[in-house]
Amino acid sequence: MAKFQTLQEAVAKNLHDGDVAAFEGFTHLIPFAAAHEAIRQGRKDLTLIRMTPDLIYDQMVGMGMAKRLVFSYVGNPGAGLLLRVRDAVEKGWPNEIEIEEHSHAGMANAYEAGAAGLPCAVFRGYRGAGLKEVNPNIRSITCPFTGEELAAVPSIRPDVTFIHAQKANRNGDVLINGIIGIQKEAVLAARRAVVTVEEIVEDFAGVSPNACVLPQWTVTAIAVVPGGANPSYAHGFYDRDNAAYLAWNDIAGDRERFAAWMKDNVLEASPEVFAERVARLRKGNA
């Protein structure tokens, strides 16, 4: 049964030190506001799962919240590397982190298996790939019908998944539009799910019967945070801030510059700033 809460409450109640947490959204609808709240609350020793760590985990890793990172592409999409994650992996700053690396197909299958309540995912993958030599969680299984050797990975079952979505209705059902990525699977695979939304509407009248809707009983908490995906975007609401993604390389490239940026833009900010940040990125204001 979804509870409508402030972002502070929703994060405090659902994210604890040591949790296995997924903040998902495949380039689109990345839950930055929820991550920033988690940073302000100072959670630590987290296992952070995300297909594309993106700036959101660069920031969390750089703030020392992660003990383990599970991922399949650790770049700044289209703009280079994630320099805070790189500093942690190469130099152990601000702390050493363990990594568990997969391909996108591996993680997508693992989330789906988690949502399906299965212990593992089976697919045709990792053939000739070096990852299976360095990640003991990539194994193989023989098809009992054809004898084909297939890849197997454990399912992903987070303690908590955070996503951002366009809308919730008064019942607490959640609607996701556009590039829907892995969000549905990440929510259904998790014990608890926290959703930030752009807005709450009366109902979903007129929405396609095949739209991606998470019924209210699959969601633990909903917080309204307009702009909460910035610098990622919300289809139909505001655009991706590509300039901010390009600018991140300079900020993340230096430990002190990063710390100063996090102080000004996260530690001393509040969820309300996201609405101001996206004002110029809204449709028609470009």
Binding site: S72, L81, F123, I179, G181, H235, N242, Y245
Partner: protein, 258 residues
């Protein structure tokens, strides 16, 4: 129209675009492949189906996306599916004819490293990793690769097998039970390369206009081999060059404007 002759990178993009056919279904890697695939769509292959791993199928963006999940990819797509559906039904299901990849490090057998320089557990440089590439490399009908040549990028032995090409060469793919063709084309800023029919090692089949064998050698970390009859890559047409430059200019404006 075009004021200046094509740069080597423009020549690379144009030669790569020409390899795509109107009826191809192409899984598009970000960066150099994305420019080539969209140039093909805007010139000789208007019917091509472009797929990005974010789930957008049959997309037709007006500018090159910065990420694989930019909003315009979804807005212009025939349909947008979830990421597990993309990798399970469409890629693993064998629906995609060409995978177009870039590479940080490439060996002569088309094996690609985008994961680490140095040892995996204690890397000198931690690169982004594979993303969709490990399965793109084995599930698409064939693989085209495009990258700028350098001694650091084109090496005899890569540090990590992110995506499998022809392995040790010969029949190594078949030995691993892989039924797709693997790398069939490499387009660099200097030349067009294809695998030797038996060894599967890349050899130069054409040099871009004005490029010498000495230049290719100086920008390649392995012993360069040449096909029996090496031709010259046809120079860019005015349409190809103008279309590419317009696309680049629109893209630059769009990404810096925000």
């Amino acid at each position: 129209m075009s004021a200046s002759p094509a740069t080597p990178t423009e020549m690379m993009t144009i030669a790569a675009a020409r390899a795509l056919k109107n009826d191809d279904v192409c899984f598009v890697g970000i960066g150099a492949p994305s420019a080539a695939c969209n140039l093909a769509r805007l010139t000789h292959a208007p019917g091509i189906t472009l797929i990005y791993e974010s789930g957008t199928i049959g997309t037709a963006p007006d500018v090159l996306p910065l990420s694989i999940g930019d909003g315009e990819l979804c807005e212009t797509a025939v349909t947008t599916v979830s990421v597990p559906e993309m990798f399970r039904y469409w890629l693993q299901g064998g629906r995609i004819s060409v995978g177009f990849l870039g590479a940080a490090q490439l060996d002569p057998y088309g094996n690609i490293n985008t994961t680490v320089i140095g040892d995996y557990h204690h890397p000198k440089v931690r690169l982004p990793g594979g993303g969709g590439a490990p399965e793109i490399a084995t599930s698409c009908g064939e693989i085209f690769i495009t990258m700028n040549q350098s001694k650091r990028g084109m090496v005899q032995n890569i540090d990590f097998f992110t995506s499998f090409g022809h392995g040790r060469g010969g029949n190594h793919r078949q030995e691993l039970g892989i039924t797709t063709k693997g790398p069939t084309l490499l387009v660099t800023d200097l030349a067009v390369w294809k695998p030797h029919p038996e060894t599967k090692a890349f050899q130069v089949v054409s040099l871009h206009p004005g490029v010498t064998r000495q230049q290719v050698k100086e920008a390649c970390g392995w012993q360069v081999a040449y096909a029996d009859d090496v031709g010259e890559t046809p120079p860019p047409t005015a349409l190809e060059l103008d279309t590419l430059r317009d696309l680049r200019a629109r893209t630059e404006r769009a990404h810096r404007a925000a």
